[in-house]
Symmetry: C2
Subunit: 300 residues, 2 copies
């Protein structure tokens, strides 16, 4: 049973201290799908404009991603984001955001997608995320991402959504903002009280923290020297994690922790090149090898 993802499909422009790339393939649903495609079939729902290069769709399809939920809006322009990374390659500033077709995006699931058991609600307004949830009638595990904007301007809708989630994935600054707590452990536990059965706080180059009623743990990032472009690391993390869960068709605590480790490892490949350039060229064997190495690093 394919994994469902609803999220952004974008053309990113990325500036790093050593290079610039314009209009390269990006977006939460694209990073997520490509990451998850190493483990599972994926159903993608998103929206693009007439300027969308069809070879991107072909690439996703070749990886087992069903793109029948990708709407191409006539006369519309694809969502564009432009960002610049600071020399530490962890912090970035957004230079431009052009929502374009995203502005009026009203997610509708193709009938065949509604029975998806594993659902990822990529970063979007909580209103749209709730709409997807309502259509995903076969859902068994729903994990969502969010961002500072929605925490600030649509908090009530977000709080309503949180009560319906299995898992929430968010980054450290978002967790602090949502909980009004500076300590990340306290922040994670407070977010947990808002409804989800588990919470994952992404800490970029410092890894990820997991919180459930019964468990709290931290997994560091895989230590890599090769950080070319961190864009999409968070969505690749989520894609690797949920892809593994969808493959195993279970999400008990043990499988969840293994899945988080696959998320860490998948993200570590994403940052090794621009866009999907690294993630789409590695094999499942590469992921497994690094996952085993990572597991060894953490055992003593």
């Amino acid at each position: 049973m394919p994994l469902l993802v609803v999220g952004t499909v974008a053309l990113d422009s990325v500036e790093t201290p050593t290079a610039v790339r314009d209009d390269i393939l990006g977006g939460s649903a694209v990073f997520f799908s490509t990451a998850a495609s190493h483990f599972s079939k994926v159903n993608l729902v998103g929206v693009v404009g007439e300027d969308w290069p069809p070879e991107h769709t072909a690439m996703l399809q070749s990886r087992g991603v069903d793109t029948s939920g990708l709407n191409i809006i006539k006369g519309g322009k694809t969502f564009r984001w432009r960002g610049k990374y600071l020399p530490n390659m962890n912090d970035r500033e957004t230079l431009e955001t052009h929502l374009n077709v995203l502005e009026t995006f009203d997610p509708v699931l193709p009938a065949s997608f509604r029975e998806s058991k594993y659902v990822f609600l990529g970063n979007d307004s909580p209103k749209n995320q709730m709409k997807v949830l309502d259509q995903a009638t076969g859902r068994q595990l729903v994990i969502a991402d969010t961002m500072d904007l929605w925490i600030k301007i649509m908090r009530d809708e977000l709080l309503a959504l949180l009560k319906k989630l299995d898992g929430l994935v968010l980054n450290d600054s978002e967790a602090k903002l949502l909980s009004d707590e500076e300590n990340l452990v306290t922040a994670g536990r407070k977010v947990l009280e808002l409804g989800p059965r588990f919470v994952v706080i992404k800490k970029g180059e410092h890894g990820a923290m997991f919180f459930s009623r019964d468990e709290t743990y931290v997994l560091p990032a895989y230590p890599t020297e090769l950080v070319i472009d961190p864009t999409g690391a968070g969505d690749s993390f989520a894609g690797g994690m949920m892809g593994y869960l969808a493959e195993k068709q279970k999400f008990d605590p043990k499988t969840l922790k293994e899945a988080l480790a696959y998320g860490v490892v998948t993200a570590s490949f994403t940052v090794e090149d621009f866009s999907l350039d690294r993630l789409k060229t590695i094999s499942r064997r590469d992921l497994d090898a690094r996952w085993n190495e990572y597991r060894g690093m953490l055992s003593f």
Copy 2:
């Protein structure tokens, strides 16, 4: 065979967002000794002034720390440091530093200390650290700390010292400064090329990274909600690590990783109260219990 530490003995004044403490017990050698005393006897070398409260010496002695190397300078004043933590409890600013008796500190090891096999050179000028090294004729494992000041004003002396070390422990910003690299993995490997057989980069609330010719790994910090005062966490980390090595009387890769984990766990207790208030009241059983819990967190 006791573990030797040479470092600062201080009266700290600490301001956190919720409390202020004046003239409380601190200093690298004190945090290190107290941490290590859970595992091993400790020989301490340091200097204080006439204003030094004798009950601090008594406390250290009661923990198996030999203070015969603690010089009390007549008419002198003890080293004082005043710092203020930002709300995130990870970053801090130094408000005042009064070197006092430290200014003319010339470390001399009591004859009985010279045969110590395990030696920790707490943060001090590389000149003084080298002097200690030359006197420690029985040394088998030498680990040193350093700081940004020495990297900036005494780089040549520091580079000479690095070639004689087994291990160097430094924090992330110091590693970047010393290597002129932003990526911490690259920084760690470059520092390794400067001479030490292994390098440990401390990342505060994000844990620690280990580098040797054969291994690179990261251990996250133990996730704790209770962060009252982070002062001394780095020295407690080093003390827990070296205390464990001194107890085991070996430092093969497996033992080193176990020791690093004890360092992480020891530091996690230190931050739970001001000064040594938490570290001196816990037992070895508390350390072992948290170490086992931590190991479980990282296994999947």
